[in-house]
Symmetry: C2
Subunit: 364 residues, 2 copies
């Protein structure tokens, strides 16, 4: 499994680091005495600081948005470095460079591991805000993200409406459903069932690899769809000689190995816990009427085949956000459709962004 | 966890046992030297042996069909002991009385445990056939079952068409999808991740309880639906004192404990493996055109909110079975809808059965 020294190999050499200027008090009451965010940028910040776009990543993503979301960032694409100053930061609690379970405790050599505190989506966004300020950004003309990234997107709009001019939450709800909490909980229980878990206090040499692998397998099923698996695997066997191992089993085994090469089990637990806290209405009013306060233009993207965050969730968002456009991504791939149908997605975002600069939309 | 001596407490005292008359050669080539099936009956067999109904149970079900399917069996219900001789047998490989991992090896005191052979749905049905013959049944006027029970139902029709006059497969496909195989595989991997698994060679005192619990949690999510969980749990907390445990987490923990009190991990693995083998076309032709050979009347029941065996699977069945009626069960509960919306289900079955005795249907 991934150790603290392996992270560097997993993130791009262009990664930059931002140190939080002071302690960060979390919603739980715990305080991170110090912390850092890993981030990437593309393009240049305009002199007035108003051309920034913040890209928020999903559960096992990183600041390398060009790697995990190819087809969205580039010339003529949804996010164009010739026009936009694009920022993507690794979330607090992750293991791709930002402060998280693999980071060393302040003043010590030991990693936090299982002692890294629980986070809320708001904690994650609060830390990001400090980076945005430090970069001299005075306006986020777009905050965009899928899944966990969509939760951050909505929290940005609710927490800092004066800074955020438009949002594009993708494959997400305004508050995490019991269905999603349950899916994550079953995955965490698979991790806890691994004797190497040890409450999160393990070494890279003796990490809960089997548990994390099983959790990831479950997750991959929930990210895809019946059609995606049927088309890709059907009932095909991987080999004829081993008594009948289906291709889809081999695929899952690969996913299980792969997650252990690139992700940390405590980060996995902490970030799924933070997703469980996602509730745009908490302390702000009733859901969904509270969405009426998010008045900026919003492109809400739905994948009809998404079983994890089903379309009804995005339909509810679009019905209650006062300035929303709902787009259904024509994809049979399930939740992960936002990573697969990127050409269509980029076009939809581009058109919508163009519409925002017309006079009628600007007054919306 | 469940031990060999605990089974008696889990099945009804009315349970009867049938010993297979000889060795059973399995599709894998392995042979069970001896075996027994636990079964229940309701009503009386007619003198001509032609009023029998076979009820086939789902993954963790038992011969106690009146317990797991209340509302289906009784006076004026879909299956009426005044008219029908109703039989339900526990499947081979289960732990509710039939030969399975908890059963003693022939001539020994040791249980099979992890050495119990892999089974196919056809093996399960082949053993059942011997029970049906031994009971003096000359016609099964209906074979009915949900999920794993639906697989048996279809196999009965394909293997013994001369014996089966009508079928009602519920919440099932004609061949197990990659999606379902993947769901089961992730669950098995959670069991294997438990160090107590030991290839299935564990004692009741040191059983893979955490792994089986995690597997069951995943399964429960897949058996229900977004709506079911949202209505039942939403984001309600179980207590305010423990820092935020959601009710749905507590529910899953309960399900995890409960499965360990009533089911064996090797049985769980073997029966999910048998479901993976389900393919009505194997050795018989192409799917779905092979369904044309199943000419008896068929009531295909679909639950629109079923994410595990989605409606398109039953639509395909109904489109290719020559004498099929497709019924959509109006339930928001997901796959388990067949266990919940039993009143509607019973009515649908009753109407359909009545229609079969009219002259026009009889020639269908």
């Amino acid at each position: 499994m991934l150790g603290p020294n392996d992270v560097a190999a997993l993130i791009s050499p262009e990664t930059e680091w931002f140190s939080l200027p002071g302690p960060l008090t979390l919603d739980s009451g715990a305080t991170l005495k110090e912390g850092a965010l890993a981030y990437r940028t593309w393009g240049n910040l305009a002199p007035d600081g108003r051309n920034a776009v913040l890209v928020c990543h999903a559960l096992t993503g990183s600041a390398d948005a060009d790697a995990w979301w190819p087809g969205l960032i580039g010339e003529g694409l949804a996010l164009d470095p010739a026009e936009d100053f694009i920022v993507c930061s690794n979330v607090l609690g992750s293991c791709y460079g930002s402060s998280g379970p693999l980071a060393k405790r302040p003043g010590g050599e030991q990693a936090y591991s299982g002692d890294f505190p629980r986070l809320t989506i708001r904690d994650i966004v609060r830390a990001q805000r400090q980076l945005i300020d430090a970069l001299g950004i005075r306006e986020l003309r777009l905050v965009i993200g899928p899944s966990l990234g969509g939760m951050q997107t909505l929290e940005w709009a609710a927490s800092y409406p004066d800074l955020v001019s438009a949002i594009a939450p993708i494959g997400v709800s305004g508050r995490h459903s019991a269905w999603c909490i349950a899916t994550s909980e079953a995955q965490r229980q698979a991790i806890y069932a691994d004797p190497n878990w040890q409450g999160g206090h393990y070494t890279p040499e003796q990490a809960p690899e089997n548990g994390l692998a099983a959790a990831r397998m479950m997750a991959m099923v929930s990210y895809r769809s019946w059609s995606n698996f049927e088309t890709r695997f059907g009932r095909a066997l991987q080999t004829d000689s081993d008594g009948g191992v289906f291709q889809v089993q081999s695929y899952l085994a690969h996913q299980g190995r792969r997650i252990n090469e690139r992700f940390d089990a405590v980060s996995y637990v902490r970030l799924t816990e933070s997703m469980d806290t996602h509730d745009i209405a908490r302390g702000r009013g009733e859901y969904p009427s509270v969405l009426a306060d998010l008045t900026m233009p919003a492109l809400v993207v739905s994948v009809p085949s998404d079983v994890l965050y089903p379309p009804r969730e995005q339909q509810l968002l679009a019905a209650h956000l006062p300035n929303a456009l709902l787009v259904e991504l024509d994809s049979e791939h399930g939740h992960d459709g936002f990573l697969i149908a990127t050409e269509t997605l980029s076009e939809e975002i581009r058109h919508w962004r163009a519409s925002l600069s017309t006079p009628s939309a600007a007054t919306g």
